[in-house]
């Protein structure tokens, strides 16, 4: 069964997250607190799902985590405190935005390093493509003009 589902997901170039997520019974009465809970939930991974946040998943674990997030918020935790509480329990794996550290250096730095390298490559390329008629050719100096006139006169 699972294999079929995976095959199906694969075919569709789309994962098939479950339809239901936050249940009415979970919603906090304070809308400001609930909004924060939703925001935090979007950054936390449902650990038993394939790349889904706990906000999108209907797995039991995701529901438990959503409740946990709300409990911590009601207890007065800040957003970061809630996240670090979960990281202490489940490790970095629970964060959908991986923390910046030595093992994720290439992940965070990679795109920017590539952009910088690409930009340098493009700069070199553009310089070379510009050719002799490029815009950075300085206009003739007075001296050069006189020599050119002299040469032309010789020719004529």
């Amino acid at each position: 069964m699972k294999r079929h589902l995976i095959a199906a997901c694969a075919l569709l170039a789309l994962s098939i997250p479950a339809a239901r997520a936050v249940e009415p019974s979970e919603v906090l009465p304070d809308p400001a607190l609930e909004a924060r809970a939703r925001e935090i939930s979007k950054d936390l991974r449902c650990l038993v799902c394939q790349n889904q946040s706990i906000d999108d998943s209907n797995a039991d674990l995701a529901r438990d985590l959503r409740r946990l997030v709300r409990e911590r918020l009601v207890a007065g935790d800040g957003n970061d405190q809630v996240k670090s509480f979960l990281v202490d329990r489940y490790g970095d794996y629970v964060l959908l935005r991986p923390p910046f550290k030595s093992t994720t250096l290439l992940l965070w730095g990679g795109p920017f390093a590539l952009l910088a390298m690409g930009a340098a490559g493009v700069a070199v390329y553009l310089r070379r493509r510009q050719g002799p008629g490029g815009s950075d050719t300085a206009p003739l100096t007075e001296d050069e003009r006189r020599r050119l006139d002299a040469l032309l006169k010789d020719q004529g």
């Binding site: 249940e23 009415p24 394939q50 959908l96 935005r97 991986p98 093992t103 992940l107």
Partner: protein, 667 residues
């Protein structure tokens, strides 16, 4: 009997492809015209044989032949006919047969329409195309045979995954595959050009229509997938940065870069080695997407290790295709001569910048998608890379891309005048500022949404400004402008439509992501809920019976004030064979927003139903934008210049224009 015929046809197709991969290539090397001429009939035969196989499989599905394992696992006698037909590609084995159908169809199209291609180039292109076919046909026959029988045959099948029994999804895979596989054409042309040792503007003009066709199909495929996710998954999300989605986004981004760099090759004979490399990369990313989703490696490295046969096979295919072509590239690319010169501020310069940003964006998606895998394999720990990462890295790359996209077309080839271009864009700039101010006034943020709405306005109105400039609108009599518009090449129309459509799509993405509202509530018949100025009354709930499902269907009356706006009837379907349920959301679409109602589970104790209400501003613009982008691509494709065979005629026609003619006379 018919499934065996299909199986046999597939084996014959493999041998035809083997001949097509070998003889014409050898013929081109030894100038043996008879051997080269084999390519054409061979590619027709290959397509015919694969179609026979595909037809046989379809027949087995349509008549519900439950002695075929593939039918048993993916069909049911009560399944509606549409899904019996689409169910053929709704599973791994069948989808691979569809893949080779597309591959052979593209090859046969080159054979049929590429009459003006130099014979050696044509022979080599078809040869390379056949090599890819050999790989995939072997893959099907060895690891994924769809024609295997089951003895004894069961009474009925296990039905198709209910999520796939949906009209939107029925046609999503063929479009996606036409896109993926279409990029094989660019790849074959690139490899053939490397073997020939020659890349020139004529080559670019031959390869661009195929790339354009593939890109348009992929655009539709991705848009359809997003649309399906939106209405089927029950809460209106349409993009999850899921690895499987990323697998389709990467070839799309690289393909977009390829389309633009090929313009520079065609017009200015520059960027040749880069364009060849992009063609190789684009198809390699298509292959990699196939590997990622087929091997199960995304679920976990361990799932891959449990049943590695398919994964390893595609991995080898990927390494051979990518490695082989890159090796050839490293040998041959240095011998390609660089062409036209240009200043940094020029149309070429803008297109180079576009390529830099699109390639970096592709690389970013690549790194983000594969990083968890590398960490896991190297035992560096487990890490999750999700939407927050991509939003933080991908979007900053797209903003300058869109800024350049608008300015680029207003710059002249060789050397452009930036001040002139920006002057022409003053009105578009003013509208952009107004759009951002509107965002601040109406919604007050978030900052990312304000940037997004600015980008959308800039892309849309910038494209219009460029078009107005082209037809000299308001600079002479209107009839003159209309006359110019009528005689503008279709590729110019295509560009304007596609660029403006991107702006439309971005506005939709911003609107629905940043400014949606939702109400999640337990309701019973008689209750009402308010959202975005609408009042919804839960009138009743009743049972509905479908061909292979049962559903609870709720009726909601939507009112604005006292006036009844519409009635929405969301369903919660359950498919008995697979014991799965699906959400069929009810959506009221208007030009500017969607009102979305999804029915959740009932609480057996209280008799209350979970109801999810959403208001998604601008969301229809995403689909409209996607479709328009593809239409713009197809319109460009119909340009006379691209009609296959046109290059020879073009040589004479182009001389009269201001654009320097670098057309290479066809051999």
């Amino acid at each position: 009997m018919i499934p065996e015929l299909g199986h046999y046809a597939l084996v014959l197709a493999l041998f035809t492809a083997l001949v097509q991969a070998g003889l014409p290539l050898a013929g081109a090397a030894t100038r043996n015209t008879a051997w080269m001429a084999v390519a054409r009939p061979a590619s027709y035969a290959q397509l015919a044989l694969i179609l026979v196989a595909y037809g046989a499989l379809t027949w087995a599905h349509v008549v519900s032949d439950f002695s075929v394992a593939n039918v048993v696992e993916n069909s049911h006698s009560l399944k509606p006919m549409l899904y019996k037909v689409s169910g053929v590609w709704g599973n791994h084995e069948g989808s691979m047969v569809l893949w080779v159908v597309m591959l052979a169809a593209f090859g046969a199209a080159v054979a049929a329409f590429g009459r003006n291609l130099p014979p050696t180039l044509k022979a080599r292109v078809l040869s390379v195309q056949a090599m890819i076919a050999v790989g995939f046909l072997l893959f099907i026959l060895i690891t994924s045979n769809p024609f295997l029988r089951v003895v004894p045959a069961p009474i009925d099948g296990r039905d198709l995954n209910p999520l796939l029994q949906d009209p939107g999804l029925a046609f999503h895979p063929p479009f996606l595959y036409a896109g993926y596989v279409g990029f094989s054409m660019a790849f074959s042309f690139a490899v053939a050009a490397l073997i020939e040792g020659r890349v020139d503007p004529a080559w670019a003009r031959w390869v661009r229509p195929w790339t354009l066709a593939a890109w348009s199909m992929l655009t539709i495929g991705i848009a359809m997938g997003a649309w399906w996710a939106y209405y089927e998954l029950g809460w209106g999300g349409w993009w999850y940065w899921d690895p499987v989605e990323n697998a389709s986004l990467m070839p799309w981004l690289a393909g977009t870069a390829l389309l633009h760099s090929a313009i520079v090759v065609e017009k200015r004979d520059a960027l040749k080695t880069w364009t060849i490399l992009l063609a190789i990369i684009t198809f390699s990313l298509s292959l990699m997407g196939t590997f990622l989703v087929r091997s199960g490696i995304l679920t976990s490295v361990h799932a891959f290790a449990v049943d590695p046969k398919r994964g390893v096979f595609i991995l080898i295919l990927l390494l051979l295709a990518t490695g082989g072509s890159l090796l050839l590239y490293s040998l041959r690319a240095p011998t390609l001569k660089a062409g036209g010169l240009f200043a940094p501020v020029s149309r070429e310069g803008a297109l180079v910048l576009n390529n830099l940003l699109l390639s970096t964006a592709t690389a970013t998606v690549f790194i983000g998608t594969l990083y968890p895998l590398f960490m896991d394999i190297l035992k560096l720990g487990k890490v999750s890379v999700g939407a927050p990462f991509f939003n933080a890295t991908f979007i900053p790359l797209m903003v300058p891309m869109i800024a350049v996209m608008v300015v680029g077309p207003l710059l002249a080839w060789k050397r452009g005048d930036l001040t002139y271009a920006l002057k022409k864009l003053m009105l578009a700039g003013a509208v952009t500022v107004a759009a951002v101010l509107w965002g601040v006034a109406a919604h007050g943020g978030p900052v990312l949404a304000l940037i997004g709405i600015g980008a959308a306005a800039w892309a849309f109105f910038g494209a219009l400004a460029e078009f107005a400039e082209r037809i000299r609108l308001f600079r002479g009599p209107l009839s003159d402008s209309l006359h110019r518009a009528r005689h503008l090449p279709r590729s110019a129309w295509g560009m304007t439509i596609t660029h403006a459509a991107l702006g439309i799509a971005i506005a939709g993405m911003v609107g629905t992501s940043a400014w949606n509202s939702e109400v999640i509530r337990a309701m019973k018949p008689g209750d009402t809920a308010d959202i975005a100025g609408f009042t919804l009354t839960f009138d009743s709930i009743q049972q509905v019976q479908g061909p292979n499902w049962k559903a609870d269907q709720a009726t909601f009356t939507v009112r604005r004030g006292d006036a009844v706006v519409t009635v929405l009837e969301p369903q919660r379907r359950s498919y008995s064979t697979r014991m799965m349920s699906t959400t069929e959301a009810a959506i009221r679409t208007t030009l500017f927003s969607d009102l979305y109602v999804a029915l959740g589970d009932p609480d057996t104790k209280t008799g209350m139903w979970t109801v999810r209400l959403y208001h998604h501003p601008l969301v229809p613009w995403i689909w409209a934008g996607g479709v328009l982008m593809a239409l713009g691509g197809l319109l460009s494709l119909s340009d006379r210049r691209f009609r296959v065979g046109a290059p020879t005629r073009k040589t004479a026609a182009q001389k009269g224009k201001a654009v320097p003619a670098h057309a290479h006379p066809a051999e």
